[in-house]
Each structure stands twice: as C-alpha cells, then as structure tokens.
Symmetry: C2
Subunit: 379 residues, 2 copies
C-alpha cells in the first residue's frame, strides 16, 4: 500500500521564499499571488459584514446570492447556463480540488495530468492514496495535452488547466472541444482548473462547460480577483453529482469562510478587474520581452502571471541555478522541479506579480548576473 | 473497494434546518453554533487587517504571532510546553481533522471512535477510504470509552472528544491519563478533539497533551471564541510529524484564511470569554433543569452546549419524533441518528445556543406538545 504522505512533495519554492526573506533587497519572481488589492467594494463589504455580525456558518453550499452571481458570471462570460444548485463555494480552490478528487477518484481510480503542472494536483492524489498518471508535455506541443496523448494513459479523470501554472499557455476552443469529446466518449471525467481566467492577454479563455455539461469546473477569487488570503473558491458540478457533493462539503468544510463570501458578492467589479488585467498585461509584455533575450522561452504566455524559462544554456540543473541566483544576485525564482519531473531541471518559473519597478530592477540585476555564464553560452 | 462517498452520510439535521426555516416561529434547538459574537477586539482586528491590505496568503503554518498565542494558551491553561513549530493554523478544525487523518491513516489503517460521536469523524474516514471501527457507548459508561473497550477493536488511531458533541460529557484527568497510557503502549495515535474546551461548567477540561506528547490535539475558534464562520482551527502535532504536516497543509490549504488569523490574534480575550461561558452555563442550568423532567437524560452535560435526551418514553424512533415535533410544534432538534447508529433512535440532541427567552418559549411549547403522549407514558 502507498503511504499517503510519503510521495507528497513540499514546495521547493518555500525554501527559496524563506531564504529570500533574509535579503532586504530580494527580487521576488517566485511569488504566485497577485500584489494588487481587490476592489474597494470588497473591503467595504467585509467591514459591513463584520458590523452586521456575520460570524456564523453559511449554508454548506455557500450564500445563495453569491452562487447566483456565479451563475450570472457563466452566462455573461461564456454564454453557459448552469443552475445555482450546481455551484458550491469552497475554502479556496484548494478545497474544491479536494472535493472533486474525492468525488471522482475512488480507490484504484486513475488521475491523468500533465507533467509539468500545478504540484497540488498530484499531491492531492497521493493524499487520497491514488497513483497519478503523468502525461509528459514539452515545447513540441506548447505543453498542452491532446486526445492522442491522453489515450496513451489509463484514466478515469483528466485534470486540465488553462491558462496554466507554470506555463501560462491557453487551450483554444478547438483544443478544448476535442478533449471534451474524447473524455465524454472514453468515460473520463474532466476537471477543469480555470483559476487564471480573466488574466488572459491574447485570445480568449474558454470554460470546459462550453463544450459539455459533464465536466467539473473549478475557479476562485485568489488570482484575478486579488483575494488569495480570503480562501474562497467555487466549483461547478454536473447535476448528477449535486447531492453527493453536498454531503462531502458538509462534512469536509461545514461551509466556506463567511466574510470571504460577503467579500465575493462585491468582487465581480468589472472596472476594477479590467484595471487588474491591464496591469498584468503590461508586466507580461515587459518581462517576456526582456527574458526572451536571456532564455529560451518556448511559450509566450497568453494568461496567468508566469513565464516558463529554459535555463539550459546556463545550467543543467535549475534547482542549483535558482539557489545560486538567490544567493549571489538575491533574485528569487521557482525551480521547475516543483511542477513535475519531465525535463523540469531545464526550467524555472518567473512570476510577474510585482510592480514594474521591481521587475525592472530584477531584469537589470539578472542581466548582470548572467554575464558570468558568458563562457558557457555557445548555442 | 469501498466507495469514498457512498458511506458518507449527509446530516439529517440539514433537512430539519431547511424545514424549520419555513416557520417564522420556529424554536431552534438544532443549531450547533454559538449565537454570541466574538470579542469586539476581534471585529476591530479584522477591519484593521482590511485597511492594512492583508489579502495575501500567510505562511502555510499560519502567522507566527498567532502560533505564539496558541503556545502561550497551552502554557497558561494546561501548564503544557509546546513549540510554535508544532502548531498549525487550519481552515476550521475541520481542516485540522483532514490533515490529522491523512497523516495517521494510511490505506488499510484503522480508526477507532465512539458511537455515537461527531458525524464528521467517520465521514472523514470514509472519504479517505478507511473503514472506521466503532466502539458502542451507552449511559452505562456515561458514553465514555475506556481502555478496556478500546482494546476490543483493532485500532491504529483513536479519536476522542471531551467535552463531546453530542453528549456534553467530560473525561476526567484519570480517565484521559489511562487512555493516553494505553494508546502509547499499544502504538495507537490519539487524536483529541478539544474544540469545546472553555465551554465547561463543572470540573475542568484537560488536554491530551497533559498526559503525553504523542497525541494530536485539535481545537479552534468556532465555539468558545464564537467565530464559526471565520473557519479557523489549529492543530498541535508531535515533533516527529512537523515536517510531514507542513507538506500536507501547504498542498491542502496553501494557508488558513488570513483575516481570520488576524481576528484570532485578538480572540483570546479573557473578560469576553468568561462572559461567554457564564451565558452558556446559565442556559445549561435552565434547560437541563427543565428537560430532565420531560426526558431521561443519562448525562448532565458538563461542557459544550448540548443535551442528549432519551425520548424513548414517547417514541421508538427519534427521527420520526424530531420530524413530528417540528411539523406540529415548530420545535427543531437534531435526531440522534446523525451521530451514529448504536441506540441513537432513542435520542435527540438539544442545543442551547440561543438566548434564554427563546429556550423558555421552546420549553413551554415542548411541554404542551408532549401532553399528547401522556397516554403512552407508562414507565
């Protein structure tokens, strides 16, 4: 029998974060959360909820008014009709993943996911004593999974994310439709992580629900809505699973944090969100423009706030590269190894979740630091 | 293979809650959360944290200042020395249970718990594909487990709670010491649910950590501190498990809700907490005094805010009894079946988590309603 926690990997970036905290002048390319604040309406909503004494639990599914907002959001953004009964508010999107995996991954079931991908996917599986099935992806497919590759693994559930952490790549409507059709035909449940929707700078993010109503969709307020510490996510489940999901969330959480739910009621603030997107796009344009002169960057990120940079012209081990970069130039990045094991020693992840001035100082320092490698740059 | 969610029971009380919501004049004995507000200092702390822009994640373990407060609390309340590294802040105590069970219940491991007990214990086990080992308890042992009974089941982990939901019974120092010694010798990990500590009206609540440092202790801010909707709990793990726990909480939660943690910093407000305890004691004294004239009550509750009432002089099925009581007298109680299957058809749980006037109206209406049963009362 597998040990639940023996395979669970701590995040290597946490060591980087701790080490970086020692330097007053550290440049933070490692941070995976927005530095921007949520809409001022959110702050007011929290204070009002405190004044109104909203310290009790909510309905396990979440405030009805908030689930209605989510329903409205899907109609407006994706022209998709869902029922409020299908929506569950969860403690972060993390909570939603745990519910989705408990719902779909019975003992012995198989979860397929790309390598690299967000590390918690595989770790949630390990914690449920499930062995993940990794689909290696590389620059050849722009790090996307296709039905052909999915067909090569045994799968009951397929975890997808678009735009993805750590790549920032976006699946097109055609690509998502093909995967959705394949999953339906093969009896595979698709779990679609749409947490970075909204933070999209080229093309358009599509919800898995546009291509079928049997996917589980997960999103939340931590990225685009700039409320990571509020720990509020949501999930949309197919109608057939509403009852089971309710029993699971009742037991697992009682309910999502109440003040966060009142905050969520005011978080769909279009003007504010548009400004958030504009800030991140400007940073993306700048940082991608600079980094592509220094590294091979196989995917120009279309969404999220990450750049997946191939550092192999400087080093054959991105963990060591990241450690040295921090020690010597006080620049923190996330080693690729945090996201999987397929060719991840070649990559580091840069996040652009700090203000332009900070990014510019980082680039300046990075350029100076990389000069030391000039002797080995030959390609 | 077991289905994770097939055995998971929804809470029957939720149907009662939904039904009760239809009656403007409903009496709420079913509610398992305090109606009192937290300290005014808590409200101020939340607003200040909003003004300070604390919308980001915290360290996965929780704010260091808050973990220090917890350390201090154990020193002051129990004369127990723990290290801040052993303390983890979690999304509710619910989150702490999930971590504790993932940590200790590998596939095939056995969880022993009393029947009846808090329903989430067994449901967490089912969700991890673990088969719980039930220890039936009755009025003969005042619903407590002894080493002799624990020895009758196969166990790797023993879940205990004191004061308990739904009984309100309290384990004495001697009883806890005996269980702690037995568990240590038998290689069983004790998980001690101490969520109702503080709400104790006779004797003194003891922490499992007073009797050994190898227990996992779980507590939180939902009951005594009157912040259920803030979803903030904590757990204390033995030093040998600190690293593993950190990897699990990083993956499972990222971190506990940030504003809730700032709230927690101000929640240990002795004057306020003393007033909270006084209010609940007054209610306990009143409601127990009245209900013991109407039902057999095997345990005078020493803590929490529940009374476990034997309704068998009126009915042989407490679920039907509860439904009829709601329909006919608009009085909501929790059927015993929510807490297990051993003799639970004989019991309902009354919560005294509403103001005295509400309790008094409930008692008045209950007395009138029970007159209809006079003809069958023969014992």
């Amino acid at each position: 029998m597998n040990s639940r926690h023996e395979n669970v990997t701590p995040f290597y970036v946490m060591d980087i974060v701790k080490e970086a905290a020692k330097y007053d002048d550290a440049i933070h390319f490692e941070i995976g959360q927005p530095d921007l604040l949520p809409s001022p309406k959110v702050s007011k909503a929290i204070k009002d909820a405190v004044d109104d004494g909203h310290f009790g639990y909510t309905d396990s599914r979440g405030l009805k008014a908030l689930r209605d907002k989510v329903v409205e959001h899907y109609k407006k953004e994706y022209a998709v009709e869902i029922a409020p009964e299908q929506v569950f508010m969860t403690p972060g999107s993390s909570g939603a993943f745990m519910v989705a995996y408990m719902l779909t991954l019975d003992s012995g079931a198989r979860l397929a996911l790309s390598d690299p991908s967000y590390p918690c996917y595989k770790n949630f599986a390990y914690l449920l004593a499930i062995e993940p099935q990794f689909i290696p992806v590389s620059e050849k497919s722009l790090f996307k999974v296709t039905p052909r590759e999915l067909a090569l693994v045994e799968a009951d559930v397929f975890q997808i994310s678009s735009p993805s952490n750590p790549i920032g790549n976006l699946y097109s409507a055609d690509e998502l439709a093909a995967l959705s059709t394949y999953c339906s035909e093969a009896g595979i449940t698709m779990i679609s992580d749409e947490l970075y929707h909204g933070l999209v700078y080229e093309g358009r993010a599509h919800s898995a629900l546009e291509f079928g109503d049997d996917a589980i969709v997960i999103n939340g307020f931590s990225k685009y809505y700039c409320m990571p510490g509020m720990r509020l996510g949501w999930m949309i489940v197919p109608k057939k699973w509403v009852k089971k999901t309710e029993a699971i969330v009742q037991n697992l959480f009682i309910s999502a944090p109440t003040l966060s739910q009142y905050a969520g009621l005011e978080a769909f603030d279009d003007a504010h969100l548009k400004a958030v997107r504009r800030v991140f796009k400007e940073r993306r344009d700048y940082l991608y423009g600079e980094l592509k002169e220094l590294f091979d960057i196989p995917v120009k990120p279309e969404g999220a706030f990450y750049i997946w940079a191939d550092i192999s012209r400087y080093s054959d081990d991105s963990l060591i590269f990241a450690q040295e970069l921090l020690e010597e130039a006080h620049i923190a990045v996330t080693p690729g190894f945090d996201f999987g094991s397929f060719q991840t020693k070649r990559y580091v992840r840069f996040a652009y979740a700090r203000e332009m001035r900070h990014l510019k100082e980082g680039v300046r320092r990075l350029k100076a630091y990389l000069l030391r490698y000039d002797r080995v740059v030959s390609k």
